[in-house]
Subunit: 367 residues, 2 copies
């Protein structure tokens, strides 16, 4: 049995925010959740404010979202939404602000209190007494796919890693994909987010939960990324190619909504947590080692879609576009593997994984 579920309406194209005020405004008082700079630099915040002001919708801007959001900050965001009287959220940014918005949406309607039936860490249960605030999303990177997933990935210092919650009410109502918002990204960010999207598509296609409802989407997304490998290397983007990469990233999000990710993601989280390596880049280092254990025919389908000949060619390409990482020790790897082997995405891996195998993969990928 397989299933397909992705209720978010996706609008794709230049100026889709400006041209669809009725899709952006889904309440009476907006909370704009964004990072310190992503909303402003991308131009998305200006467009959103223009639409809200033209329609006389009051709003508050909450632009305190750091990379890899931490749950105490999310609870503060929820409290801010409550006290400001906001009844819907407009999330603008990369994966961090989008995932943060989902958590803030939960905390806004479910106040966490110590020794109550909803404490801070209960957000990871995925079921809440009150529905989260309704939300729309404007991605400003083409990688996360968060705009179309029910997942929110948060940093959890208690467990020294990132951990996700899944809530069907955390799907955004609408996602707006406009290449104008990603065209000015630093090339390193464009690359590592594209690698994140590539990982979603490949991990989804090679996943234990891959199905006829995810496979063809994964291949379509990889085909789009395959057409942009040169541009990702040269950094020479136009709005149309940026919009296409956003669409590929959204396809990656739809795919992992059906399948989940694999150990590439769970092992990557440690690189991000302990070394502050951007999420997509972290995944990119690990992807080829993971693929060595996957059914060869399925790997070849991914490579064909990317228009690459072999796993070696993929590894070489990733080596060219991702910065080198240094100074990883055996002790680091021992600690990271001991954490990542406990992650729930280990179960979605198409082959059984042990900590020893993860140690080997980390070593081959990073040392």
């Amino acid at each position: 049995m397989f299933k397909f579920h992705m209720p978010t309406k996706v609008l794709v194209g230049e100026s889709c925010v400006l041209e669809n005020p009725q899709e952006l405004i889904i309440g009476k008082h907006a909370l704009i959740v964004t990072g310190k700079s992503s909303g402003k630099k991308s131009g998305a915040l200006d467009d959103v404010i223009k639409v809200l002001e033209n329609n006389k919708i009051p709003y508050h801007v909450y632009d305190k979202i750091e990379n890899n959001p931490e749950i105490n900050d999310m609870a503060r965001g929820g409290s801010f939404a409550r006290t400001s009287g906001c009844d819907f959220i407009i999330a603008i940014g990369g994966g961090s602000p989008l995932d943060a918005a989902k958590a803030i949406g939960v905390y806004a309607t479910n106040e966490p209190k110590e020794n109550s039936d909803f404490e801070l860490y209960d957000i990871f249960s995925g079921t809440y007494k009150n529905k989260p605030l309704p939300m729309v999303a404007i991605p400003t990177t083409a990688g996360t796919g968060s705009e179309v997933t029910p997942y929110s990935i948060l940093t959890l210092h208690k467990e020294k890693t990132k951990k996700s919650f899944t809530c069907v009410h955390s799907f955004f109502k609408t996602a707006f994909l406009d290449g104008r918002y990603t065209i000015n990204l630093p090339v390193l960010v464009a690359r590592n987010t594209a690698v994140d999207a590539m990982c979603h598509l490949i991990e989804g296609y090679t996943n234990k939960k891959a199905s006829p409802s995810s496979d063809y989407m994964a291949i379509e997304g990889l085909r789009i990324i395959g057409k942009h490998l040169d541009k990702l290397q040269s950094g020479d983007f136009d709005v149309e190619s940026c919009t296409q990469l956003l669409w590929a990233s959204t396809l990656g999000g739809i795919v992992i909504s059906q399948t989940g990710t694999t150990i590439v993601h769970s092992m990557g989280y440690e690189l991000t947590y302990f070394r502050d390596i951007p999420h997509g880049q972290a995944n990119g280092y690990l992807l080829c080692e993971y693929l060595k254990g996957v059914d060869k025919a399925r790997v070849q389908n991914c490579l064909d879609a990317l228009n690459l000949k072999s796993l070696e060619e993929l590894k070489e390409y990733l080596g060219k576009i991702l910065p080198r990482v240094d100074n990883i020790t055996e002790n680091d790897i021992l600690e990271w593997s001991s954490i990542s082997i406990k992650a729930k995405n280990v179960a979605s891996c198409p082959y059984p994984v042990t900590q020893e195998m993860e140690i080997e993969m980390y070593k081959n990928s990073l040392m």
Copy 2:
């Protein structure tokens, strides 16, 4: 700009109704809407009743749906739902019961009254004061795609044709695809519904509104149908192939939810209205003539996906699996074209269409 929106959750596989009671039961009192025989013969009605009774959910069965539902009957169904106290609908059947359920869902919560602000024909507006009843769908043919569209196509004697309404609240919450429900279909029904799905996929792919969010789905659906051309001819089905054809049909529904159909459908409606020719079969007669005017590269992509060499080969195949139609006169065609040229799907055709062109297409297809 393009968009993607399909909020229905789709569950695919043997016994998906029995195994997912929580997805089937979305209220406190069910109205089962089905045809006189489709629910019973398919086995779907038994499964549904078993789940409802196991969970002590009261229900009424409304099995008065005829082929090509007519709006007065729909209003009666809505009245029945109101007076029986039903708060959700389980639709079981081919396109007619599924489309009927959408109309009954509207009339159930919006009582039509003469000289009021909601009269019988106002259903075609697509916007209603009260939300339609929530609904789930169990298709018992693999053709309509209605389980994943916001469209309901009704017979309208006043205009001597079929006419559709579109309402975003008429998307089913969940659709259950189980090949056990279609395996015992008469082979003529299996064929003409598969041809309907094929037409949705091809008309969607060649549509003026075709986009990156519909193209790859259309091609995937055609690939699945292409793998089953022999089985459709021989009538030698198994549950797995029936489930795959249901999924292809659902992909067709998702595609036309984005694009709409073309003149194949609007011209086909007259064959159904005046000659009682089943919907898919009617479309099948007209498909190849329509395709003669379409961009050759796009036609070739459809043929490649179907694993056919040429439009002639498609025409020959359709000629083999569809019954011959006789006794069509020039006067018939004059009348039909005068009606069908007014349909709204004419605007989605990738080339401009006149009544003279439709006359020519009808003649070449049917005489």
